[in-house]
Symmetry: C2
Subunit: 437 residues, 2 copies
């Protein structure tokens, strides 16, 4: 059974803290293994990648077959049924429209001293997207990673997607094609991350790596961070639903289960101001669990990490939610905008009862790559900005240098950085000699 908490109970605080601090994932310590895989790929390139792929995925590749051929991709795309193709196209179109609004503005201005200041944004040149194999190989994630990169203007976009036992998901290849990715390597794990970061004879290195993965992928991303950019270290998915009694318990139960079915480590939390409604949702979950195909996974998630929290009112609900800082937050209340205004930390907010979280996973438009494990306190979902960088601009005129240069000299002296000061002083001396400025 999930945890039932009530903020009125004397032991609420320690029990809520225990829920917050519970470790949901047994992260195996794969760091040493990953370090040696990375070293191997750096030293031996393609040969190492090919050997490791045979060992871990049971697939024998050559340098020539590391990437899918255009014919293979064509064939896979052609095999996708019409309804799935159309749904994927609608999703791609809506995701593109949303992300197109994120393109940041450049700026340039002249300040009162005559200094021209500003910044400009430019895209990363090359990005690599990691797509997990097996059950977690989601075409929707391909769109969510590749389209922001494409909108940002990334020139070279590649995918690494392992094909354990040779299995390929044709929808993943179609999603890649819909989002402008032409090169798809059938490799995975730490060896794929190493190849993307350092390059091999066949695989050109990229500047940024995004996408979810298992413990090996996560450890490898942490290790190559700095050599290349990474998105985030993703943890298991979470949802927190704030719902008042004016909701269908079955809808809320399904929303909770739509996270729980991802992973036994996923977490689904209901926060409600009505204890009886909380019980009704818990009943509805049990009923739905009887029929769900993934009931083993969803049931384990709900049993081990699920929670129903009864609060005094919606203000308190917002406070509780902020302490969780959930990846996904559903506000199934009469005035979801008013409640959203009280919330500070959430990856994505779904407003009102007609907005099940699953809409956001596929076709809503916003990105579904979102901060997990309370990291919404300090980080954001994936966006166009993740594939761009900002260069700051400054241009002094003689007048501006005369106005602010002396302060720089003083500060350089105070920091014992003599050449810093002299580089300003030499220019000011010329201006003073020439009477300019």
């Amino acid at each position: 059974m999930p945890v039932f908490l009530n903020t009125r109970d004397a032991d609420f605080e320690p029990r809520f803290r225990a829920l917050l601090e519970a470790k949901r994932e047994d992260a195996p310590d794969v760091d040493a293994t990953v370090a040696s895989i990375i070293e191997d790929v750096r030293a031996r390139g393609d040969a190492a990648v090919i050997e490791l792929t045979e060992r871990f995925d049971g697939v024998r590749l050559t340098a020539a077959t590391l990437a899918f051929s255009a014919e293979e991709i064509d064939a896979a795309c052609a095999s996708v049924p019409d309804d799935e193709r159309e749904a994927l196209e609608l999703a791609a179109e809506r995701i593109r429209a949303y992300h197109a609004r994120q393109t940041p503005d450049d700026a340039r201005w002249t300040d009162p001293e005559g200094a021209e200041l500003g910044w400009r944004w430019s895209p990363v040149e090359a990005a690599g997207l990691y797509v997990p194999g097996g059950l977690a190989s989601y075409p929707s994630s391909v769109l969510m990673n590749a389209i922001p990169a494409q909108v940002a203007g990334v020139e070279r976009l590649v995918i690494c997607a392992p094909t354990p036992g040779g299995a390929v998901n044709p929808l993943v290849l179609l999603a890649a094609r819909l989002s402008g990715v032409e090169t798809i390597y059938r490799i995975g794990g730490a060896q794929a991350i190493a190849a993307l970061a350092y390059g091999t004879e066949t695989i050109a290195p990229v500047d940024k790596i995004t996408g979810p993965g298992n413990a090996y992928v996560a450890a490898a991303k942490r290790r190559v961070f700095g050599k290349v950019g990474i998105d985030m270290i993703a943890g298991p998915s979470e949802i927190l639903v704030i719902a008042d009694a004016d909701n269908d318990p079955d809808w809320i139960a399904l929303d909770l289960m739509s996270q729980a079915e991802h992973d036994e480590s996923a977490q689904a939390i209901l926060v409600t101001d009505d204890a009886a409604f909380g019980q009704a949702v818990a009943q509805a979950v049990l009923k739905r669990l009887e029929m769900l195909e993934r009931r083993a996974i969803a049931g384990a998630s709900w049993r081990d990490h699920g929670a129903v929290i009864v609060v005094r009112d919606l203000d308190e609900a917002a406070e509780i939610s902020d302490r969780v800082a959930p990846e996904h937050l559903e506000l199934c209340v009469a005035d979801p905008d008013a409640l959203a205004a009280k919330v500070r930390h959430a990856g994505a907010i779904f407003l009102g009862k007609w907005t099940p979280e699953a809409i956001g996973d596929y076709v809503g438009g916003p990105n579904h790559v979102l901060p997990t494990a309370r990291s919404a306190r300090f980080s954001s979902g994936l966006s166009v900005l993740d594939f761009m960088k900002r260069t700051t601009l400054a241009r002094m005129t003689p007048r501006a240098l005369k106005a602010i240069g002396p302060a720089a000299e003083v500060l350089a002296r105070s920091e014992s950085l003599q050449a810093h000061g002299l580089s300003v002083a030499a220019r000011l001396a010329r201006l003073n000699r020439e009477g300019q400025g």
Copy 2:
């Protein structure tokens, strides 16, 4: 002597590659030590921090003296000479004015299907700024880290600044006060990062940690990344100057030395289309090195990592610069804007000969915390955005759900995520029953 390269030479490419790939820093492997320090601070809190501070900094603290008292800060601020106070105030004012323009806009719109979409930005609640002790304790860095956080609206800003042997830089305390930081802990190293990330009895945990530090600090930041946000793993400073022959060789020499004097691992590169000018700058560097206070450091940097690269023309200069992706890029040419437009990767660009890089270190306005070690290919300097996060918003109406919900159902089925599909289907079934939408 620094490396002299000419793009016309047959061996240019391998020699330039060697320059790019040269390891400038001997990063000691302190990871195991750092891991045990972090565990110790998590397990024993204040006691561990106090013991480690005595061991590493030779300073005995108690829980009550972990932070500077208001009186100590008052006294330190009062001891700062007027010219230094005024220079610091000017710098703070200009940095604040620049960063105030970075506050991002929220967005909200309704799409043709009737879905309301958007996002909103909110500040991180608490941030910790690391300020190195000893020689690298720069008041300017306090401003550059704290002011963007303050502009972002961070409620609680704290500093950790070790005081090895009890030494305190009063300008650091004044800079903290000028940028809204009231709490300054006199602790450093991995123990300070651990305390900021996990909290102790006395030190409340923060959500984001920024600021430069030594190998221990860098390793600790890498380890706590995910539990809290971090800015970047900073490497030694770099400058690349593109200068034509119409420059004073002494100015360019001083600009190169203003990076070289930071650190023996710093790198200063001149790119010029005039070989004789390149020689003249190298001569000017040698002359300046005779008189610089930090000639041992600057000389070692120039000797081991400096370079003069002669190019055919300025287009080629931009290409070379992009391969370096320098932290600081000076464009001392007749039309710096035209050249800047050809550059893709740089942390900060200084336009024209009246803009020595040192202006940007102190009073220009843009941030001086910038991507090093070629990471300008994929990352940006510190900004207000580093202290904010974005929450995406979506609200479906019955009409919008009818329009796009079926595609979500198809995709959920294709990903074998049944509850995802059912959460949409249950709502659509109601609409169909009621004839709404």
